[in-house]
Point group: C2
Chain length 333, copies 2
């Protein structure tokens, strides 16, 4: 790489001091002579000077970069959230570093530590939930931090997530004409808020309608075990006549199973899921889904982070923001 041009080169070339060039770069023209300005301007052009942001960051203690830690960028919801965050940051002249924690708390910790060492101005995370002491420390330092999708108990960290109870209520409503609803879900853990809340919400809301959701009707397992769980579910003496698939990944397994077993939707069993999927409209039958406003949620998270960055003392935004799910009524129930 050729030798980089620095502010000194520009200063010499323009016949002024580094300070003056710096003033110019930072738009503090208040007292700057017209001539000086022009000299600097043309020196910059001629030398093709571009300031070294690392040096600036060191001095200003801001890297104009934020970190986003998702469980896995391959999940559609995460991708949409990242896109919204990146758009927001781009407008502000910020960059975003993307990290995949893979639901692994060690990896999450490594990422948080490294991002901090790189002096990123803030972090938006889908927290694993297992690094409570670490989160707590960041909170105490007033380090700008926003959580997405998952609640961590007892921590006063602003969080953006779906109103999962509402989503469950909508699912119950969509399935109200069916007698034996079942739910299919990935493994349940306390800190996996979406799954927990959707399950609990579904159960409670069914109860309000005088229907109970017994454990047999809860098919729960890792993605690669779902087929087996579904098999068991449909071997019950009274198999379900409706299914609530808790997210898009589970939905895939359900559709695959239905297809393989020649179970017709909605005639044999009705189906609704959370997360819109690309093929929902032209699938046979078109799938009724409950979607999350992913872009708005991402944008909100970015906004919350920036208000913290601007004013780390401000405590007013340290709350939980629930977004409304939307029903896309189609043909599967």
């Amino acid at each position: 790489m050729t030798k980089r041009i620095t502010i000194s080169d520009v200063a010499i070339h323009a016949g002024v001091s580094k300070s003056t060039v710096s003033q110019y770069l930072n738009g503090r023209y208040d007292y700057m002579g017209q001539k000086t300005k022009e000299k600097i301007e043309s020196a910059i052009k001629e030398l093709k000077y571009s300031p070294n942001m690392v040096a600036r960051s060191l001095k200003q203690k801001s890297s104009t970069t934020i970190g986003v830690i998702v469980a896995n960028i391959l999940h559609v919801f995460s991708t949409q959230v990242i896109r919204a965050i990146e758009d927001f940051c781009h407008e502000k002249g910020f960059h975003v570093i993307v990290c995949n924690a893979d639901d692994n708390s060690d990896k999450e910790k490594t990422y948080i530590d490294m991002l901090r060492a790189k002096q990123v101005d803030g972090i938006i995370a889908f927290p694993t939930g297992d690094n409570v002491a670490l989160y707590q420390g960041l909170l105490e330092e007033k380090y700008p931090l926003v959580f997405m999708d998952r609640l961590v108990d007892g921590l006063d960290i602003p969080t953006v997530l779906l109103d999962n109870y509402k989503a469950a209520t909508l699912a119950v409503d969509l399935l109200k004409d069916y007698q034996r609803p079942a739910i299919v879900t990935s493994p349940l853990k306390e800190n996996l808020t979406p799954r927990m809340e959707r399950l609990i919400g579904f159960k409670n809301e069914l109860a309000k309608h005088g229907k109970s959701l017994s454990d047999e009707y809860i098919a729960c397992g890792e993605i690669n075990e779902i087929q087996k769980k579904l098999t068991e579910l449909f071997q019950l003496s009274e198999p379900p006549d409706a299914i609530f698939a808790i997210n898009d990944r589970v939905l895939h397994e359900v559709l695959s199973f239905m297809n393989y077993q020649n179970i017709r939707i909605p005639d044999d069993v009705a189906l609704v899921n959370v997360d819109d999927v690309s093929f929902a409209e032209f699938y046979q039958p078109a799938l009724t889904t409950i979607s999350q406003p992913a872009f708005e949620m991402g944008k909100k998270a970015a906004e919350l982070l920036f208000t913290q960055i601007k004013n780390p003392q401000d405590i007013s935004t340290r709350e939980t923001f629930r977004f409304e799910p939307m029903v896309n009524r189609r043909k599967s129930c």
Copy 2:
């Protein structure tokens, strides 16, 4: 934020000089006394010291960060490529900044300039193709750069992409029993290598089989115009009996159209596309697809970038790497 602990604090606390602490941090223990080592170690622990990477970057001229500029992170292929790159970088202790250029050359230029100002160690880009002078400049500076998915004519920049001609050949082979194949594609522009090559490859390979692809059988338009183009296509006196959908986004439109028009696959018209999609296996009928090894491609791009970072003089890797498409034979043709 509380006052950050610096290397000076550690030095004072341990009763040694900053230099020695720095040696320790960088693992140069060669001549370091056992006691010194221990003192430093415990000082770091007690103070919870973590080095400021920005300061280190300034001195070392490496930010241990790379930039990835995609057209749009929402495209599945891009997401997969990013995931592979991020995994690779994470192993090396690097971070990745993700940027969406939206096929907009101004946006691309802004991103490249800003990434460079932030001293990222290299860039992997899905180039818009319209900033040739800029690319040229980076090349001359020997700035680490790898292109993905798209070829830019006349520039000796290492590029990773699918063997699109091979993909087209495979498509022709899969469709060999059909008489009037058509192709559906997003708008064609010289620098949009995948589309161009797949179209040309398809045409040429058909010719080898004694079939011609007349212009009427090329449905080409922006995603939101595809439905209209398909309508025209199927109003031909001799409508196609097979379709090659050039990518996943086009495929969605085709399936939507087929569904709406009650055209049966493969009885009325056979179908094959490039890019595997999540629902291919359980769609009715299961979709025959030609997929790209996205993860390997992303990994390769990262490897190429790192060899350039390690040795910017080395010219040996400045070539084009074509990856083999794979056929996933299912039921749609």
